[in-house]
Amino acid sequence: MQWLSFPEGENGTMEEASRTQASSTARLLRRATGVLGHALRGSRDELGLVESAANWLWRRVRVPVRTGMLGAGLAAFLLAAAPGKARAATDCLACHADKSMTDASGHSIAVDGQKFSASIHGSLQCNSCHTDIKGYPHPDHPAPVQCRTCHVDEATALTGSVHADGKEHPCTSCHGDPHAIFPKTDARSAVYPLNVPRTCGNCHSNDGMAKKHGLPSVYPSYMDSIHGYALTEEGLLVAANCQSCHGSHNILSHKDPSSPTYKTNIPKTCGNCHAKIDTEYEAGIHGKALASGDLKAPVCTDCHTAHAILQPTEAAFRMQSTPICGSCHSDKFTTYRDTFHSQLGLLGGYVETARCWDCHRAHDVLPATDPHSSISKANLVTTCGHCHAGANASFVQYEPHANSRDLKLNPGLYLVRLFMNLLLISVLTFFVIHTIMWLIRSRYEQVKKNGANGGNHA
C-alpha cells in the first residue's frame, strides 16, 4: 500500500479504502497515461488515443480491481512508465501541513491534507500536478501547475474567452483553493450552482475587479434580482446563475456574435429556461424584427435588464417599465403621458393602471392590424375589459395615445384643448392685470388717507 500511498480516511473501513483505492487507481491510471502521452508526443489526437486506451484498459480491469490487487498491480506497472517518481502526499505534508508555512513573498504554501484528500483530486499525487518536483529538496519556485494537462477541453475553451488574459491563475480564480477542489455537484465546490454568484462576485462587484477594470458591478444587481432571490433565498438549483447565461470556461463578450449574451442569441439563452415566453416572443413583432436582422428590436434584457431582473408583477418593475418601451417608442410615450393611465401610474401605490404591455402584451406584441393582436379591433373590448368592467364597443373608441397637439390626427381634442387653454390664459391675464392695478390703487388711497407711511399697520 505504501508505494501508492493513497490518502486514507481516518474512519474508513478496509472495504471502503479498497473501493476508494480502486476508483482512484483508475483515475490515476488515466491521468498518468494522459501525462505520459502528453509529455511524449504533445499532440492532442495522440493523447486522446492514449487516454482512450487507458479508459479501455480500465473498463477491462474494473471488476478484478474491485476484488483484488490485479488493478493495483497494473496501475503500478503503468505508473512506472511515468516520468519522475511519484512522491507520496504524506511525504510532502511532512512540511506543508504546517499551517504557518509561507514562501519567500509571504504567500501561504500550507496544504490541508484532510481537505485535499476529500477533494476531487484527493487520489492524485502531489507531483501529478507539481510535475517539476522530483524529490526533496525541491526548487524554491516550482513551475505553475498546468491544469490543461488533464483538463484540455476546458483549458482550450478558456483560452478563447474573456478570461484568457487573467493574471491570476485562470482556474483557481473560479474553482478556489487548488487543494480543495470539488465537483460542481458538491455543495462545497466554488462552482456549485448556489455558490457561483459569490465566486463570480469576487471580481464582478464594486469591491473587486469590476471597479478596477471599469466593468459594471453586476453582483449586487444579480443578488437583488428574481434569479438571485430564487437561488440564494429559496436555494433553487435550477434558478439562473451567472454561468447559466454566460457559460463557464468559454465566456465571451456580449459583442461577440457567438456569445450566448450577444443580442440575437439572448432570446434563445433565456429560452433555455423560459421556453414558452421565447416562443411567444419570436411570434411577436419584436422577435420577427430581430430575426430579420433588426438589431434595434428589443430582446429580453432590454426590458428586463440583464442582471437586476425583477418579478414583472412587482410594483418597482411596473413603475420602471413604460420608460423602457418609451426609449424607442418616444412618440407613443409622449401621448401616453398625457393620459389618465400615465398620471395615475406615476403616483406610487397605484401601480395597477395600464402600462404598455398591459394592452400590447409583453412578449407576443402584434400590430393592431393583426387579428391575433390584443389591440385589434375585435379584441379591444376584452383587452380594455381586463381593468374596465363594462367596457363596450363605444368605450373602446377611447384613444389611449390621442394627441391633443395634433390638429390633423385628433381635431376634436385639439380644438377642445385650444379652447380650454385660451379660456385659462384670457381669464387669468385679465384678472391678474385687474388685481394688480386694483392693489396699487387701493394702497395709494390708503397711504393718502392715513398719512405718508400708510398707517400703523400698513
Partner: protein, 287 residues
C-alpha cells in the same frame, strides 16, 4: 384699514354701543360657502398631484396618504358632497323664484345675473385704477363677485360633468363619441387648473387680501358687517335700502368673539392651504 385693527376698534365702539351690524349672508349661504371651500380645497389637494403626477411633491404626497387609491377616494368623496351642495343650491334658487315668487332672483340689483351697471362699473373701476374717475359705487354684488359666482357655476357644470364622465366612463360611452372620452380629461384638468389658479390668486386677493379687507373679509363667516364697512363697500345697496326703508330689517347682532376667532382659524387655514397649493401648482407648471 387692516382687519385686525378694525376689529379691535369695532369691539371698543361696540362697547360704547355705537356700531350697528347688518346681515349680508344668511346662514344657508355661509354653510354653502363653507361646504364649497372645504370640498374645493379637498378636490384641489387631491387633484393637483394627479395633474402634476411627475413632480416630486405629488409622489411624496401620494405616498404619504396611502397612494393613489386614497387620493382617488377623497377626490370622489369631495366631488360627491360638492355636487350635492350644488344641486341643493340650484333647487333653492328655483324654489325661491317659482314657489316663493321672490323678486330679484334673475334680474335687478340683488340678482347674480350681470347687467349694464356691471359693465359700466368694470370700466369705471379701471378708470379709477388709473386715476381717471371716481370709484364706482357698487350694488349688493359687484361685477367681480358675480364673476366669481358664475365662474364657480360654470366650473361646477364643466368639471363635474367631465369628472363623472371619467368616473362612469363605460356608461357615458353609450351616448358620447369615442374621442369625447379623451376630451373629458383635457377639459377636467384644464378647467380644474383654471379654477385653482383663479381661486387661490384672484379670489383670495380680490376678496380677502386687498387693503380694504386685509387680511380677511370675515363677512362670509360671520354673515354680518359693520355699517361703516357696508356703506364704504356697497354704497348703492345701502342707499337703496334706506330709500326703500328696508335697512332696519337687515340689522343684526354683532359677531361674538368666539365667532370671529373661529372664523379666523378656519379662514386663515383655508387661505394658507390655498397659497401652498398655488405655489406647488406654479412650481410644477413652470418647473
Amino acid at each position: 384699514m387692516p382687519e385686525l385693527e378694525r376689529v379691535a376698534m369695532e369691539n371698543q365702539e361696540q362697547a360704547s354701543g355705537k356700531t350697528r351690524y347688518f346681515l349680508r349672508f344668511t346662514s344657508g349661504q355661509r354653510y354653502l360657502h363653507a361646504v364649497l371651500f372645504t370640498t374645493f380645497l379637498g378636490l384641489a389637494a387631491t387633484g393637483l398631484p394627479l395633474r402634476f403626477s411627475e413632480s416630486v411633491w405629488a409622489r411624496a404626497f401620494a405616498r404619504g396618504v396611502g397612494g393613489f387609491g386614497a387620493i382617488l377616494f377623497f377626490h370622489k368623496l369631495c366631488a360627491a358632497v360638492l355636487t350635492l351642495a350644488f344641486l341643493i343650491h340650484v333647487k333653492d334658487i328655483f324654489t325661491r323664484k317659482l314657489v316663493n315668487r321672490e323678486k330679484g332672483i334673475f334680474w335687478g340689483p340683488t340678482s347674480m345675473v350681470a347687467n349694464w351697471k356691471d359693465a359700466r362699473d368694470l370700466i369705471g373701476h379701471f378708470k379709477w385704477f388709473l386715476g381717471l374717475g371716481p370709484r364706482p359705487r357698487f350694488e349688493r354684488y359687484a361685477y367681480w363677485e358675480k364673476f366669481d359666482y358664475w365662474a364657480v357655476f360654470w366650473g361646477m357644470v364643466v368639471i363635474g360633468f367631465s369628472g363623472y364622465a371619467m368616473w362612469f366612463a363605460p356608461f357615458f360611452a353609450r351616448f358620447l363619441p369615442g374621442w369625447a372620452l379623451n376630451a373629458v380629461l383635457v377639459i377636467h384638468s384644464e378647467e380644474g387648473l383654471l379654477a385653482i389658479l383663479f381661486i387661490f390668486s384672484i379670489h383670495f386677493v380680490n376678496t380677502h387680501l386687498r387693503p380694504d379687507s386685509f387680511p380677511m373679509d370675515m363677512v362670509i363667516f360671520t354673515g354680518v358687517e359693520s355699517e361703516e364697512e357696508f356703506k364704504a363697500k356697497r354704497p348703492m345697496e345701502y342707499e337703496r335700502l334706506v330709500r326703500e326703508g328696508k335697512l332696519e330689517k337687515r340689522l343684526a347682532e354683532a359677531p361674538g368673539s368666539w365667532q370671529i376667532n373661529f372664523s379666523r382659524v378656519v379662514g386663515y387655514t383655508a387661505i394658507v392651504i390655498g397659497m401652498v397649493l398655488l405655489v406647488l401648482t406654479l412650481t410644477a407648471y413652470f418647473g
